[in-house]
Amino acid sequence: MSLTRDDVAHLASLARIDLSEAELDRMLGELTVILDAVALVQQAPTDGVEPMSHPLPLTNVTRPDVPRPGLTAEEALSGAPEQEQQRFLVPRILAED
């Protein structure tokens, strides 16, 4: 199966990255080469093999439910692009109409 330019544009929009026309063209070529290479996984002898998501066996980790200090509001806002009244100031979320 081969990737189309529209596929790449759709993936970029899902990933919330505005790609220029030139970037889309280049990305299509590069991704096609990479996808051809990684498709090798489909030839591995994986019948009946359990997928592995993590390198070590995981157990649930809990801790006593006691408060501990976190960042102050000032610290949490220290990297904010914009702020107002001790809040993150963000662009509009909803459309106007």
């Binding site: 596929d7 919330r16 093999v49 993590h54 692009p81």
Partner: protein
Amino acid sequence: MTSDLTRLTASEMSDLLSRKEISSVELTQAHLDRTAAVDGTVHSYLHVDTAGALAAAKAVDEKRAAGADLHLMAGVPIAVKDVMATKGLPTTCGSKMLEGWIPPYDATLVTKLRAAGMPILGKTNMDEFAMGSSTEHSAWGPSHNPWDLTRIPGGSGGGSSSVVASFQAPLAIGTDTGGSIRQPAAVTGTVGTKPTYGGVSRYGLVALASSLDQAGPCARTVLDTALLHAVMGGHDPRDSTSIDAPVPPVVEAARTADVSGLTIGVVKQLGGAGYQAGVRARFDESVQLLVDRGAKVVEVDCPNFDYALAAYYLILPSEASSNLAKFDAMRYGLRVRPEGVDDPSAEQVMAASRDAGFGDEVKRRIILGTYALSSGYYDAYYGQAQKVRRLIADDFSRAFEVADVLVSPTAPTTAFPIGEKLDEPMAMYLNDVATIPANLAGVPGMSLPSGLADEDGLPTGIQILAPATMDERLYAVGSALERALVEQWGGPLLDRAPDLTAHPSAHPTADPKEA
């Protein structure tokens, strides 16, 4: 005199400091002077913290003068990869996305360095968000290999490898997701370890692929690497994947350096076609030296390693596309408004910011990961890669039934020229072919110098791999081999690297150094 201090090992520095023959201020200043002299050409650092390092050094000297009980490594300066959060110090991950970001907290391992009294000299360069094998994907330009300034120092941790190889720091922090500590070590003639997954806390490490990322030590000798490993490692309640057990006895193993009776497995799949002749020759000689010291050698078959690179370049982009979703221009990092849009929405600002803030390689991997995880392709790509991951872990388990450690060349080639592979992503990815299996399985790995390739005179590396949580075996074998090699060479390999102060200090790329 002070310039000579930078040539000592960290272990020697620690001895001189505890005997009060040198002060930490003297030692730290010597490294800052070295940086002033050579980093214009090497470009290891993104940020040098002159004032902070000297203040930390002075504090340690005062405590020592007052008779305080200090950590073994107190006063020994260190460089930290720019992927670790450092309170009050810029942390960019080599990305425009985080230009000027100053974290309000320290990564756990940085807290440990500060608690041990180790002055932090600065933050080292890296491929953007640790995606790359050359540092060419850094938004601030590449670092240069001290052996040949026209060549790459490896990646993503090329800032950390070049900083120790150019004697600007005795020790550095690295992170290794697919080889980013080991491959840079191999191409710069230095030592680096990826500990067992979970051996070092990931709290405050800006995540690339959470199930693969592991921070570890970079240094010039195996013992120094062990000393730093012991400072960094150990359980952290703030990282629920960190191993709740003491750090393996790495320093003791490095000092003992005993390989008699050990079985060493040479991995059949790592080291044949595609590996440079000089890399193979130095590897074969190193294996023979271990045999001379009492080890036994067997060949081990890990057939599924042939699928490791493909599985890795599905699993990593998938995890990265999720982890990097947090760079959304809302709470921190770059915010850019799209051109020609009145009153843009949050989503439009997000997309414009991610286009402006991320470099090509990061965009490529995020989009690849988005594809691998998308419905309709999930089973064929991500799901299949996870099954291959299991097969690779099973190959390791079988191999460790017959061998105590496994060995291979660390990287297929010596350092390549800057620019050579930049436009061919797959060619760049192949640099990690021998290092990736360890990350997929979570086992520890080390690279140490095995010599210089005959054809180009550049450093080659040998990789040692051990079963999970048996990190000490890396140090026993690495240290034994290092002793044999240094004896053969008549001194450390880095003694043969060029004198960087002879070069004109013109730097070819933009440099955002602030202090």
